[in-house]
């Protein structure tokens, strides 16, 4: 046995020597390959000058979007209209393409001529890297009137003064409330302030005999359905980034107000009880949605819920209202949060002129946008479309239109590091609501430094 050990020691030394030789060998090979690799990586394209005004675009372009099924059919309709009015341009449409796929394709030097993204998360990195072309020359050349686009919408379609996207449609958020439950509890109006929301929530909550929650007046838990720091931020007007792009979470007192309010409501229910309750929820985008199933009296949701409730044939008698705000910001009541869909031209596009013509049609032509909004049931991003009589909007949908157009409405600002700041904040608030954070101020400052560090290692 001993001999074997000594043997293995000698062998160990030999192995170690061999490992070192191997390491050197591998590094040498690696260095050789790196040079080759650098040669194989596609380089960024230099920007080409655009055509002079008055040029008629023609050719075939590809268009990727993320909608599917029924919504995809609506897009097809509008594309057909475009082709009819622009007979020289043919559009090939691909549906179900999300941000990841588009990013991959563009990075590989390909990608669609025109791409549509669900949210503003990519605006930062696409504008900064030139993945989507700068549209300013086209806008200037064709004298596009940007004043028809609501202010907040204009803000989220550009990054660092580079406008690489145009707004397509957006989703607006408000609260849905159960009229039956309100009547039973004697509440006549939806809550306008956070204090009212808290009071109503407590009144509307029902408990089971064993103490578990049967119906929640308002579920304040982060991470459930549409409840997130991003969507709650407009309640107190909390800012994400400072003007120079750094994290504002630790310095903006509005965050502390928001989180303290949220935690107090969580604690009233009991965090464990809430978690259990949340776990019983059906899928958000199914007929078993907790609000539709009568488990929630008040719920924050987007304008698509109107269409879902109709499609699911839910029996819930509901009303809609803007998101409640803190007492200090009572004058901003009527605003809210929007998620903007954005559209742009890939840097590898072979026919940017035709692509721009298509984008211009979709984003600045009032009738086209009205038709899109009617088909997809999202909110248009042109004031003219918002006010258009052709826009089929019942009273409920009109509210979301107003929210979208409200100048105090906000969204998550674009950033070069994508969703980092949202992810970091999400992790923090998850701990916060579970009671695992001792000092809120210190915690938020730490999140600040985390985000700023992450931003510093971004490209």
């Amino acid at each position: 046995m001993k001999g074997h050990l000594r043997q293995s020691h000698r062998d160990g030394a030999k192995v170690a020597r061999r490992h070192r030789t191997r390491l050197v060998g591998m590094v040498a090979i690696g260095a050789a390959i790196i040079t080759a690799a650098a040669a194989c990586t596609p380089s960024t394209h230099a920007s080409k000058p655009i055509a002079s005004p008055g040029v008629t675009a023609s050719g075939t372009i590809t268009f990727w979007h993320f909608f599917t099924d029924r919504e995809s059919a609506a897009i097809k309709g509008v594309v057909g209209d475009f082709e009819a009015s622009h007979p020289n341009i043919k559009v090939i449409v691909k549906d179900g393409q999300d941000d990841d796929k588009m990013t991959q394709a563009i990075a590989a030097g390909g990608g669609p001529d025109v791409g549509l993204s669900y949210s503003t998360d990519i605006v930062g990195k696409f504008c900064q890297s030139g993945a989507w072309q700068d549209l300013t020359p086209y806008i200037k050349r064709d004298k596009v009137d940007l004043s028809q686009i609501p202010g907040p919408v204009l803000n989220y379609t550009q990054y660092n003064n580079k406008r690489c996207t145009m707004p397509f449609l957006n989703d607006a958020y408000g609260i849905y409330y159960n009229k039956t439950m309100f009547a039973a509890a004697g509440i006549t109006e939806p809550p306008k302030t956070l204090d009212e929301l808290t009071a109503d929530a407590k009144k509307l909550t029902k408990f089971n005999p064993d103490g578990s929650i049967k119906v929640a007046g308002f579920d304040p838990s982060f991470g459930v359905y549409e409840n997130s720091a991003a969507h709650f931020a407009p309640m107190t007007g909390a800012k994400w980034l400072t003007d120079d792009g750094k994290s504002a979470i630790g310095t903006d007192p509005a965050w502390q107000d928001l989180l303290n309010w949220q935690k107090s409501l969580v604690d009233w229910y009991g965090y464990n009880k809430l978690t259990k309750f949340n776990a019983t929820f059906g899928d958000e985008f199914s007929a078993q949605n907790a609000f539709e199933a009568g488990k929630l009296a008040i719920n924050m949701d987007g304008e698509w819920r109107i269409a879902s409730i109709a499609a699911d044939k839910s029996k819930v008698d509901y009303g809609v209202a803007p998101i409640p705000v803190s007492a200090a910001r009572a004058s901003t009541y009527g605003s809210g949060y929007i998620t903007g869909n954005v559209i742009g031209i890939s840097r590898g596009s072979k026919n940017p002129e035709a692509a721009w013509t298509f984008i211009k049609y979709l984003t600045t032509n009032t009738d086209a946008m009205v038709k899109l909004a009617n088909g997809i049931k999202n909110v248009p991003t042109l004031t003219s479309a918002l006010n258009s009589p052709n826009l089929s909007a019942d009273a409920n949908f009109k509210l979301f239109l107003q929210i979208s157009a409200n100048p105090a409405t906000s969204t998550t600002p674009p950033s070069g590091a994508g969703t980092t700041y949202q992810d970091d904040m999400q992790a923090f608030v998850d701990k916060w609501q579970a009671g695992k954070v001792s000092n809120l101020g210190t915690g938020l400052t730490q999140v600040d430094s985390q985000i700023n560090q992450a931003l510093s290692i971004a490209g």
Binding site: R18, R22, A37, C40, T41, P42, W64, F66, F67, T68, D69, E71, K94, G96, Q97, D100, K101, Q104, A105, A107, A108, G109, G110, Y118, G282, D283, F285, S286, A287, Q288, W304, S308
Partner: protein, 299 residues
């Protein structure tokens, strides 16, 4: 390591084909018998319950698939038709078959000779290369994702399944490893005899080694086939932008809309994905088990 002398006859039929008790010998009573079968049945229940759930959900209506009722109130056999209609399942099936069969075939072409070189040929650096092969098995896919994706883009092959199929022409690390471990157990007498007869290495491989290595090759092929069939990450990376090239596994995961999910159809698609594999396994399990038995992972 305790050496187990491999008997000269490596083609013996492994005993597991016949039911026979094995393992430590001891006194057995009725109690032990009952206990064993009880545990076995408990394991069966645990193994089958999720499968049963998947199958039952595939027959439910969309509303019921999310409720607490676990037995379909009405049997929607039409779900399966829907799946073929809404999803291009036939095409995805073909794509998956193409991917699995070609990848396995290419793997065999490249990996069998490589395993032979690593087990039966003597050359400088052999152990080093073997360790490198093991390193390849360890490589986290996330490292290779981006550089390889961009590299394939140079050949305009992104959007197709070729980036997943073609690399197997240059060997698959896990398969090389398995095959090599297996070939190591083949006694050298056979090779020596062939060499004495004047056969070159390729001839030896083709005429002597491969027939003897059939079970190991079968097992390795099946591993590869299963892997390709269930592969999600690969097709996600390379074919997600091109629907006509999707595979079954990826289609299964993508079966959702932006604001809508139909779990009953998802589960029906899952069943469709599993059934061909089940059939294949049923027919091939003898070869599979035989190959595993004789694969020289014993060292």
């Amino acid at each position: 390591m305790t050496a187990v002398i491999v008997p000269a006859d490596t083609t013996r039929e492994p005993a597991p084909a016949k039911p026979r008790p094995s393992g430590p010998v001891g006194r057995e009573g009725l109690l032990v018998f009952v206990a064993r079968h009880a545990i076995a049945i408990a394991i069966i229940v645990c193994a089958l319950a999720p499968v049963l759930f998947i199958v039952l959900t595939s027959f439910m209506s969309p509303q019921q698939s999310l409720s607490n009722h676990y037995w379909p109130t009405t049997w929607h056999f039409g779900n399966y038709v829907d799946v073929f209609r809404k999803l291009d399942m036939g095409r995805y099936l073909l794509n998956t078959l193409l991917y699995a069969i070609l990848a396995t075939g290419f793997m065999l072409i490249s990996s069998v000779p490589a395993a032979y070189a690593l087990s039966k040929l003597k050359w400088r650096g052999r152990n080093f290369v073997f360790l490198v092969v093991i390193c390849m098995m360890l490589l986290p896919p996330q490292i290779t994702t981006v550089p390889l994706y961009l590299w394939w883009a140079n050949f305009h092959l992104t959007g197709t399944l070729w980036p997943l199929i073609l690399p197997n022409l240059l060997g698959d690390a896990f398969s090389i490893f398995l095959l090599r471990q297996f070939m190591v157990t083949i006694p050298d007498e056979y090779l020596d005899a062939a060499r004495v007869d004047g056969a070159g290495e390729w001839r030896t491989l083709l005429r002597v080694i491969i027939p003897m290595a059939r079970p190991g090759i079968a097992a390795t092929s099946m591993f590869m086939f299963f892997y390709c069939w269930n592969d999600y990450y690969g097709p996600y990376l390379y074919t997600s932008e091109n629907r006509s090239n999707w595979t079954l596994s990826f289609a299964l995961a993508s079966f959702h809309g932006l604001h809508n999910v139909e779990w009953n159809l998802v589960m029906a698609a899952a069943v469709i994905t599993v059934v061909p594999i089940l059939v294949l396994f049923f027919f091939a399990q003898k070869a599979f088990v035989q190959g595993i038995t004789l694969t020289g992972v014993k060292g």
